[in-house]
Each structure stands twice: as C-alpha cells, then as structure tokens.
Amino acid sequence: MDLTLKIWRQENAQAKGGFKNYEVKGVSKDSSFLEMLDVLNESLVDKIESPVCFDHDCREGICGMCSLYINGRPHGPDDAVTTCQLHMRKFSDGDTITIEPWRAKPFPVIKDLVVDRSAFDEIIQAGGYTSASTGGVPDANATLISKYASDLAMDAASCIGCGACVAACKNASAMLFVSAKVSQFALLPQGKVEKERRVQKMVAKMDELGFGNCTNTYACEMECPKEISVSNIARMNREFLGAKILSGEKV
C-alpha cells in the first residue's frame, strides 16, 4: 500500500517544529507501524535526509518505549495495542496519516517524535514501591493474598508507563498512571504499610510536575494499550482522601 505521512519534525527541544509530508510506497499490510517508519527512514537515508526520530525498543508491546499520536489517537486506531503492535492492515491504501509526538508540558519534545518521559520516573521515585530492602523478608507464602485482590493488583501493575494516558487526556493528566501504581500496592498487604505516605507523595509529585487534573472523561482508559481501568483512579482518590483525613503523619 502507498501512504502519505504528515509527520511532526522538530530539531530539538528549543526549536520550533512543524509538519512535513512524506510519501511511502509498497508498504506491506502485515508490517507493523514502526516497520513502516523504518521503510520511510531507509528511503530518507538513501536521499541523505535526516531520518525521523521516534522512540521504540522491544517492539512487542511491553517495554512502553514507543509512543506516537497517530491520526488523533495515542498508539493509533487499533484498541489495546502499542504503536509497535499496530499493524498496517488497520489503514487503507492511499491514506494520509498524521503523526505527532505526545504533547504535554511535563513531556518536552527531545527530537521529532521523541519526548522526555522522565516525569513518570520521578513520580515512581516519590513512592511507587515498597521500601523492602534486599534480604530479610519472610517466606513468600507467609502472607495469604486473595486471588481476587492479587488479580486486581496485577491488572493495575500491567501498566507499561508509555504515557498514552497523558497523551490522550484533554487535560494531560497522569492520574491513570499514578493510580495504577498506587492501586497495585493498596490492594496488596505488602503495600499497606506505606500506603498513606505513598499516595500523598506520589500525588504531590504528579501535581508539582505540572500534569493536569482528572475530569473523568476516561479517554485514558480508552487509549491505554494495557486497558488499565479508571476504577484505579477512584481507588486512588479514596486512598488519598483517607490518608489526608485520617493519617496524622506529615509527609
């Protein structure tokens, strides 16, 4: 299939970016979206033009590195996939595809379609863990955890930290990402010890970094490649309120 690509090009964080149009020809419908971009880049190298930069790594939908805002949707038109698992059969011959980077103040553009998502790391560093040090922990079966709670925790924990939730949200809110981590630990006994501290620290960091507020449009859930549920956001709200109201600890 032949396609027209309208791609955001931006030299670096300071430069002013803009769209550039490219034609790609003979794309296999079985190839992935990133493989299609590989084909484009090979052709650009042939013409001694600078290839389009985009983030990618595992190309099997789990590392969370790939991004891309494709035709108005993070990770493109297919549901529950990352861009690397989006296949060209979801497009038609002759289509024009607009490709933009994630846009959010806390995700500044590095180059072209590559953005800096270290804000997510900072939020996790604020408290997205149990403080267990290596060694000296009890036997794994010493604490029983209901399958239901464990499954819910796993649902939340499957977040890949790609940032599609922020990209999709009209408010550039990171609530789905943050709540997924808060939920995972709130649901498990191992996480309960620090739950008040954790939720307050992570929310404070999220606010400080300039992410928007959640207005419950649920765009995040719809675009999440791992289908993380917004019920996690409700759980985080609950945890947060509980901690604010009941905990005497200053964090």
Binding site: N12, S28, I48, R59, S118, D121, G128, A140
Partner: protein, 645 residues
Amino acid sequence: MTKLNSKIPQGPVAEKWSNYKAHQNLVNPSNKRKIDIIVVGTGLAGGAAAASFGELGFNVKNFCIQDSPRRAHSIAAQGGINAAKNYPGDGDSIYRLFYDTIKGGDYRAREANVYRLAEVSNDIIDQCVAQGVPFAREYSGYLDNRSFGGAQVSRTFYARGQTGQQLLLGAYGALSKEINKGSVKMYNRHEMLDLVVVDGKARGIITRNIVTGQIERHSAHAVVIATGGYGNVFFLSTNAMSSNGGAAIRSWKRGAFFGNPAFVQIHPTCIPVHGDFQSKLTLMSESLRNDGRIWVPRKKEDAEAIRAGKMSPKDLKEEDRDYYLERRYPAFGNLVPRDVASRAAKERCDAGFGVGTGLAVYLDFAAAIKRLGADVIKARYGNLFQMYEKIVDENPYETPMMIYPAIHYTMGGTWVDYELQTTVPGLFAGGEANFSDHGANRLGASALMQGLSDGYFVLPYTIQNYLAAEIGTGPIPTNTPAFDEAEKAVKDRIAKLLNIKGSKSPDYFHKKLGLIMWDNVGMARTKEGLELALAEIPKLREAFYKDLRVTGSNEEFNPELEKALRIADFFDMGELMAYDALHREESCGGHFREEFQTPEGEALRNDADYMYVAAWEFKGDGQKPVLHKEELKYEAIEVKTRNYK
C-alpha cells in the same frame, strides 16, 4: 597454560556458598560511602544490583540506554521464574533444580555457580513478593506454580504472561527508592562505549549521552556490566532493538575473556517471519507448550496444500497430523527443552512439512480448549492469544497458531569466575551478559532467576570481597591518561563512522550480517558454513567501513549513529561466535554441528574432549582470538547423555 582461575570455594557443592560468605571480605558501613560502583544496565541483574548496592550504602552510578530503567529488555520475559520452593509438594528440591539446570545446559555450566543459583532461587521469590510483585495465586491465597520445559515438577512462579515485566518493575521500584534516597545516580539514555582500565583494574567507563551526543567520563572503584545478550547480531531476534553486544565487546577488547560465544538459544515458539521489512521477531511464551500441541501435516501433499492456501489446518484429520514432539520424545512430549524443540521444528520444515511460508509449524489448542474450556485457556494465555491475533490477524482460539524458532537468548557471555568477576579485576558481569549458569542451553524460566540471583544475592556479596581492598584508594580521578586514551578512542570511532559518507544505511549491513549468521552460525552449523562465515564477515566489515552512510552528526540525537556503532561491534561478535562454533567439534545444547549427531538426529556430545568453557582472549583487531579452557568438573552430579525420550 590457562590464566583462568574460577575461584570455586572448597567444600561440598551444597556448602560452597555458605563457606564463601562466611569467609569473604566485607566493607564496613562507614567505608561503603567512600566507594563508587558503576552499573551498566538496569534489567533484572543490573537494576537489582544497583538497588542492592545502594541499600548497602555504596555510591552507585547506574546507566541505561533507554529513556527509563523500566524499559530494560528483561521486561519482555513472559513465562515465569523458577524456584525450588516445592510449594506444590511434587518432589522439587534445590538439588533437583540444580540438576535440571545442569542437565538442561547439557553439562557445559559451572557446577558451583548453578548450585548457588538454585540455592538462592527461593530467596528471590520471597524478595519479589515483599516488593509487591503480583504473582499468580490460587483461591487459597497461596502462590500458584506451573510447569515449564525441561522439568518434571511445577516450579515456575508467574504473573500472567508478564512475569519479566513484574519482576523488572519490582527491581525498578527498589532502584527508584534508592534514586530517591540519593544512593543511586541514574543516567538514562546513556550508552557505554568503552571500558577504562587503569593499572590493570576496571576504573570507569566512557559513555555517550544519546540525547546530546556528549562523550562523558565516569569513574568508579568497580564496574558491573549487566547489559544482556548479543542475540541481535542475527538482526532478527526476539531481542529489543537497542539490545547490543557493545559493552561485552568493549570489555573483551580491554582484556575480559569471552565465554562460550557460540552458545545461543533458539526459542521454539516465536511468531514466524512475515516479510523483508520485518524488524524483529515476537516470542510467544514457552508456557504455551503446557497446553498446546505441536504438529505438522503427516503427508507432504497436505503441507503443500496448506501452504498454497487450498486447505485449512482444521480440515486435517487427526491421523493425518504428525505430533512430532510427542512421537519422538514420549516422556517430555511438547515440553522438551527449547533446543530440542527448535531443532525438531527445523527438521520437519527442512523436510518439506512446514506450513505458512514453509517455515512454520502448528501449535494447536483445540484439544486443550475441548478439555478445559475456552475460558480457562483465556485466563492462562489470554494476553498471548491477543498479541498473536494482533500480529498475525488470525484467531488462535479457532485456527492453530503458527510458530517457528528464533534467536532468543545467549548463554555465552563475558567469562566470570565464581564471584562473577571477569578476567579484568574490578570488572564484574551479571545476568545474560555473563556466561556462567546455563551451559549450552538455558531452560525456560531460568533467565529471570539468574538475573535476579546475580543482582540481589550474589554481586552484593562478592563485589565486597574485591572492594574491601579499595577502601583506601580514594576517589578515582578521570583526568588520567587511561581516560584520555579511552575517550579519544571513542571519539575516533565515531568520527571514523561519520566520515565514511558512503551510500548504505547501517541497517543494510546489519541485515546482511544477520543473514550470514543465521545461515551459517544459526540452528545447524557445519565446518564449511562456519568457515564461510569467517570469510564473509571480514568482507562485509570492509564494505561497511567503505560504504556506510550515517546521516547527521554526533552532537545530536542520532539513532543512525547509535546503530552504526553497535553494528561495528556486532562484526566482532559474529566472528567470535563463528570461531567458537568452529572449534567446538561436538553438538551440545544450542550448539548443533551437523557433523556430530546420532543416526536419529539427536545431538552428539563429546565430553572427553569438550567438557570445558571456551574463554576467548582478544589479541588485536584482525587477529584470531586465543582460546583458554576452563575444565568443568562435576562432583555432585553424574554426567549423562541428555535424554528426553
């Protein structure tokens, strides 16, 4: 003759690790903060090691090539992690896990290391649960286990089909905690381009900041490389795009011997190749073999009809199907180890029974769905089925999946002793980057175990035995001739690549190299093929340095330059693999030499001549590397022919 000292502690195998820990040197808490450690890589081994070093009180600098430590390719491991907990009470023990791992590795792993691995496996599960890793559980609230290839017990802990992700996020959490505390300084989007050796000791690294192109010097009292495997030398593999052999090759060129480079694992259950533009292969967890049955048509004409699209696999009657693994290996059936399953698939396809493009076999769930119901299968493998459907556009609940072997894991790696120290003092290697635990073939669910074992429970001890002598050293300056030389070498390499200004992209050469490797140093190797590879690779390298085109400059975000640098190292890696494969005149594990097989086509091992680790020493560019042998002695185990029949 050999310079190798594996430093295996005295005593019976079961007591070696305890003895070692009881007598090793430690660094006291007030001295730890005077010591700097560089950790390259943030996967299970690197991330866990960096976090644990930080917890102990060392100053850690941790480097990762991706934009976040959480992206390391350990994340892609699906199936599970082994441990000798024996929770199901089915007869497992530390000894049995040790035995299975040694046997699975075709008796080419170091006994003492593997025993230690099995010993700490239980601690790993405890640690991960404490970190909040949501392992699968039973309704009772206890942890669930499943079985995996190469074992007759259920010892694999798992978190759906995303075990690697969950374990990595556990380690990433621990690492984040230490970053927050200030004990670990994180360097994202940094690539190690050289090792700095001062007076014979590893004292630092040279990195390139991937965003700005800046070449930076970092010093420390010890360097740990945990940079994973070199499977991407084949271009198409299940590795992530940025997985590379750079740190290993650079360490090799600075004096670290390389162990068993030929031992590469071909994973049997990958999604088959679809076309020329394919950039990577996607693995389907080996756990699928628990319930899926592998088959090809029994008659060639049926295979041809299926390939031509004239027939659907569903139309084929039971008696016309050849469940070749169940036929050849009745005791283990579809759960034979990976190398065995891969070779069997290749054998069927080469004989003309392949489906799809001809290079694929069926993995069929019809029987399991009938027996257990689609719901149970969905609960077990739902995400894998979904992934398959997204890629192949076929519903695996209805049509059998197609799979084919692909390059997956490299058992070989930088040679390390019992302490995981390389032949360069102060340079350590952990996880897939070292060679030690899997011999010639790795069993499923053992890579996660090994990465975390090295990171959480081995390196934090053994590195202290080395660092105890460094407490008086003081900070390592970076303005020394060794750093000057290393930085200049890196800058020269970059300038050389940028100045070729030829006409072919880095990927062009990478694909060519991959093809040479797959055809000659892949699943089935011959003397002629390997010699051909050793003749072709230098030619391709020459063409690369003549006709490479790298667009852009060093001083920017430049993925083309990154690729070119990595491919330059892959040439060396490819040659090293071919040298090793050529010299090892036997078939064992992932290394299959067609000249050495039984009449039934099984691997023919030669214990009399090859029961050793091949450790290769770098002798200069364009020179043949020199072989050193570490003889393997098995005291706790009887060496047998592997038999899965």
